[in-house]
């Protein structure tokens, strides 16, 4: 059988500075002193396979003594001396640069070796630098600190490995877990969302938001919560002290013409008619903070060019100024448009898209998150209660009816959370005695159905404008319009007045003895001066 040893395949390598005072020791008395570098190799339960010792030229004699002594106490250890000189070992820049260079040039073999950086020797500045190098992973290992024996029995003294991956420490990990959960909860506005894809997305956002200063692009349909998320990201970064300044928000759809340039980048007094004083612009206001540009797809090409420069170089030219202004901000951009298509059409700069497309998060529509509708209903009720100081609740059957509808395929939620919020507000306002009952819900469901259908057809109330004169329309309350619209739509989809009646009163029909639904429809239409023939005639054209 051939000799083969199967274990101990990874080598333990320690890098450290020679301690010009702590490692010092002459004559036999030196063995009575605790010397950190030698002590590293004196532990019975810790074996250093290789020690890379950094020392200055003028300390070569000391280095030789230490090397000899290590050979004696630890014949298993290979000691390699590296000449590294500091002009001033207390100069942070010099020490960091020197150590950084050393580490950068060091042939780390992480597949076969484990690395420890011995921080006990060297100046405090060197310790700080060592910490930074390990923390930034320039040094691919952990820190090790040694200390003198606390009691005689400790022999070689104490030794402690410090892993900067804090999640490895149980007590700290639970603390970070809590903080992480708080951040997630905050990003979700405290709503306990159940949709897995959405929750995963928020986890990703939390991870990225806590780490990057690069632009973040949030896409998603209107009302999906882009601006709300932007505010939460800002709060998260503010809470972690990652950002000093403020959040500046602007919807690009509201910026037009000269005003757009001036609003964003500022202007000098007299730059154009009406520029009566200097204006610093939103980018400048966002200095050290975050700038949220919603509907970035609406931004004009000139503004896009200036914005790109501001993002890349932190500099831009205010209108009418010959002096560049600067601002350090993190860009958050929102859009509900497909920017790639816009790029193809020449409406959006490809280079700007490339720059802001680094971290892109697509918020799903409410329809894609049916599990989250219920928690959001509760959230909206709470929000209403806080805003109006009035608690509103659903009756059980009303809630069940509303949720069933809201999560069904009939509910388009084309305005997403904006629709949900408006819907809850309407119901809460109409709720008799703070209780949303079945009737309120039924009415609301009709209202939503009409709103989505008409929105899908184009502009609001076009159907009413079509069948009613403007004068007549003015006399009809906004409250009544969706319902009328719904009735007209159903009529037009029906072959007869009685068919329309059956559809419109389908739910109550079963419970009534006499059913004269067509009559009810006729009477309803008559209230607005309309009749079956007129509706169908106009529709047929």
């Amino acid at each position: 059988m051939a000799h083969e040893s199967e274990s101990r395949d990874r080598r333990m390598v320690v890098l450290g500075l020679l301690g010009t005072s702590l490692d010092m020791g002459k004559g036999h008395k030196r063995w009575e002193r605790w010397r950190p570098t030698v002590s590293l190799c004196q532990h019975e339960d810790f074996l250093v396979d290789r020690l890379d010792l950094l020392c200055g030229k003028r300390w070569s004699k000391l280095a030789d003594v230490v090397t000899e002594d290590i050979k004696s106490v630890s014949p298993e250890t290979e000691v390699i001396l590296h000449q590294v000189d500091f002009r001033d070992p207390w100069d942070f820049q010099e020490v960091y640069a020197t150590l950084h260079d050393f580490v950068a040039a060091y042939p780390f073999d992480t597949d076969n070796e484990d690395y420890l950086l011995h921080i006990t020797t060297g100046t405090h500045v060197a310790q700080i630098c060592e910490f930074l190098l390990a923390e930034a992973r320039y040094f691919p290992g952990k820190l090790i600190q040694t200390g003198p024996p606390r009691a005689k029995a400790d022999g070689a003294g104490v030794l402690q490995v410090i892993d900067l991956d804090l999640s490895k420490y149980d007590r700290l990990a639970s603390r970070f877990e809590r903080e992480h959960e708080d951040a997630i909860a905050s990003l979700k506005d405290g709503i306990e969302t159940r949709n897995k894809a959405f929750n995963r997305l928020i986890e990703e956002i939390e991870h990225v938001a806590a780490r990057t200063t690069d632009p973040i692009l949030v896409t998603g349909p209107t009302g999906a919560g882009k601006s709300r998320l932007a505010r939460r990201i800002f709060e998260l970064r503010k809470h972690r002290r990652l950002v000093e300044g403020e959040l500046v928000e602007v919807n690009c759809a509201t910026l037009r013409g000269d005003g757009a340039m001036s609003t964003l980048f500022g202007h000098k007094k007299g730059a154009f008619t009406g520029a009566t004083s200097d204006r610093q612009g939103l980018l400048r206001s966002a200095n050290q903070g975050m700038l949220f540009l919603d509907e970035i797809g609406e931004l004009g090409l000139d503004e896009q060019a200036m914005l790109l420069r501001a993002v890349e170089e932190k500099r831009f030219l205010p209108l009418g100024s010959d002096k560049e202004s600067s601002s350090e901000f993190q860009l958050l951009a929102g859009t509900n448009r497909d920017l790639l298509t816009q790029v193809e059409k020449g409406e959006f700069r490809e280079d700007l898209l490339a720059r802001i497309n680094l971290w892109t998060f697509q918020l799903p529509s409410l329809r894609d998150r049916p599990e989250d509708i219920e928690p959001n209903i509760d959230y909206e009720l709470d929000a209403h209660a806080k805003q109006r100081g009035q608690l509103v609740r659903f009756s059980r059957e009303a809630r069940s009816r509303y949720v069933t509808f809201a999560t069904s395929s009939d509910a388009y939620w084309s305005g997403n959370f904006r629709d949900l919020s408006a819907s809850i507000t309407r119901m809460a306002t109409l709720a008799p005695g703070g209780r949303i009952n079945d009737d309120v819900v039924k009415l609301e469901i009709d209202r939503l159905g009409v709103a989505w259908r008409t929105r899908a057809q184009g502009s609001h109330f076009s159907l009413l404008e079509e069948v009613l004169s403007p004068e007549k329309l003015e006399t009809i309350d906004l409250f009544d319009r969706p319902q009328l619209e719904l009735v007209i739509t159903v009529c037009r989809e029906s072959r007869s007045l009685s068919e329309a009646g059956r559809k419109l009163f389908a739910a109550s029909r079963m419970r009534r003895k006499s059913t004269n639904d067509s009559d009810r429809v006729r009477k309803y239409l008559a209230r607005f001066g309309l009749d079956w023939d007129a509706l169908c005639r106009m529709d047929g054209g």
């Binding site: 274990s7 063995w31 009575e32 019975e44 339960d45 014949p75 298993e76 005689k152 070689a156």
Partner: protein, 341 residues
């Protein structure tokens, strides 16, 4: 291969490193593989320390063993020896670990090998909790030689904790079979002597130690000797007391320790000597531990010693797992006879 694998729970009995060393020694000597778990479970730093790892590596080297788990802090190893390879070896032990304990691990097999061996070892030569080189050369090896093999140890340089750097060289001329030995009587006392050794320390320490010995054991002046060591790397102090009798020489060693007064070290060593002199058993506690393996390998013979320590009892049990011939313990009034059969 694993059918005759000996399973050992390293936490039994006294639960220290001796279980591992005895297992290694007998595994190489008998060719029987073993697996030990819970290595040094009863110690504050459980698992293999570096000195134990070196013992494993030395045993591996002379037997061409296949080993699993041979790493610092490992609490389980499996050791499959191949064939004994006598010859010249060099082993270095870190942390000023004991050279004699590593030698103890490989000596039993090599003294029964096919050819002579020369083993040079570097590390500590006089460690607390380990047989000193003086003890081996004066007390243990003469008895081993009476069983057949020629074994000499040359102390080339002293090595003390913590600096280490000592060097010994052991030369072994093996025999095919050990001659049984009977050691029940001490015989008349021939000579007694005390040597206080200091390395890189004041000779005053040695003087103070010998003064205590003289006072407590009434040694004559000519029996006291001071030895100044010049070539050791670090400081060190040992007090070695020899009681030479007709049939056996016993050696008692005190180890100087930083922060412990020379007088105390001498007084404690004197206590050990007094206890030995107050009994009639020829073999002291530490020598008994050393003799168990050769006697068990011989399969015959007996020796008498004082009450067995926990350490000795653990050692006896470990030996029993590897060797069919058993060591029988026969209790007497204030001593025991260890009989190999």
């Amino acid at each position: 291969m694993s059918s005759d694998l000996i399973h050992i729970d390293g936490s039994f009995g006294e639960g220290g490193g001796q279980i591992l060393r005895t297992s290694l020694a007998l595994s190489v000597a008998t060719g029987r593989p073993f697996r030990i778990e819970n290595i040094r479970a009863n110690r504050s730093k459980p698992g293999l320390l570096r000195q134990h790892l070196t013992a494993v590596q030395a045993a591996t080297a002379i037997s061409g063993a296949r080993v699993v788990g041979d790493a610092v802090n490992s609490t389980c190893i499996e050791f499959h020896p191949d064939e004994l390879r006598c010859g010249d070896y060099h082993f270095s032990i870190g942390t000023a670990g004991s050279t004699t304990l590593v030698l103890q691990t490989i000596l039993p097999a090599l003294m029964l090998g096919e050819a002579p061996s020369t083993i040079s070892l570097e590390g500590g030569t006089h460690n607390a909790y380990a047989p000193s080189v003086h003890f081996l050369t004066r007390a243990f090896l003469p008895l081993v030689e009476r069983m057949g093999p020629r074994v000499s140890i040359e102390l080339e340089r002293h090595g003390f904790y913590p600096a280490g750097g000592g060097r010994i060289c052991a030369r072994i001329e093996p025999v095919k079979k050990l001659t049984p030995l009977t050691l029940l009587e001490r015989g008349d006392e021939v000579r007694r002597s005390a040597t206080a050794t200091v390395a890189n320390l004041s000779g005053d320490i040695a003087k103070r130690e010998l003064a205590i010995i003289q006072q407590k054991l009434s040694f004559p002046d000519e029996a006291l000797k001071i030895e100044q060591i010049k070539d050791a790397i670090g400081p060190g102090n040992i007090l070695s007391i020899e009681i030479e009798s007709e049939h056996v020489t016993e050696v008692f060693t005190g180890f100087g320790e930083r922060g412990v007064a020379a007088e105390r070290i001498a007084a404690e060593t004197a206590k050990d000597v007094r206890r030995y002199l107050g009994s009639t058993a020829p073999v002291g506690r530490h020598l008994a531990d050393q003799l168990m393996i050769p006697f068990a390998l011989a399969g015959d013979g007996e020796f008498r010693t004082g009450r067995l320590s926990g350490h000795s009892e653990t050692n006896l049990e470990t030996i029993g797992w590897f060797l069919p011939s058993r060591l029988e313990v026969v209790n007497r009034d204030d001593s025991v006879d260890i009989q190999a059969q």
